[in-house]
Subunit: 99 residues, 2 copies
């Protein structure tokens, strides 16, 4: 039998990174503050998970303004989309063996 967890992506073991990705799959661009509120996180915690995702090439950052306030938004990359879909497929496979 093949290891049923071997295809799961380690980056997505974290519930927070999983949450960020699932939000960015739906929404083209989401701001730092929106993510923070949706996921109920402290600044530091969110920032560190975002940088993990960014370092892995799963999302990209846009620094802009809303009026005169700084506004950082995040969006998923092609690689991120692929990785996330791959992870979901692996989860599905793992669970499909249940039938």
């Amino acid at each position: 039998m093949i290891n049923p967890i071997g295809n799961l992506n380690k980056i997505f073991d974290s519930r927070i990174r999983l949450g960020v990705m699932s939000i960015l799959m739906v929404n083209e661009e989401v701001s730092f503050n929106d993510l923070k509120q949706m996921l109920e996180l402290t600044d530091g915690n969110l920032a560190s998970h975002l940088s993990t995702l960014e370092e892995n090439g799963y999302l990209k950052v846009h620094k802009g303004f809303v009026g005169r306030k700084t506004n950082t938004t995040y969006s998923i990359t092609k690689a991120g989309e692929k990785a996330f879909k791959g992870h979901l497929a692996a989860l599905e496979n793992m669970i499909r063996s249940m039938e």
Copy 2:
């Protein structure tokens, strides 16, 4: 918006515990060694994850024999089944928002 990761079960953040549970959802009883081989783990690592699951009431242990060799098997409890299904439902909910 409601926190999309709030309903995920922390016990199942671990890929290994997720793997154990998914195996035990299919198979009525699985031995320590079979789990070890299926998940490709060291004894200690598997044992510690199993005891976490046991402490949470998600699986139960049966100590028996095969021939004259000791043989420990594990099976899922009702609570474990419920928790696992709940986790999967939470994952699905989180992802369903993608459509």
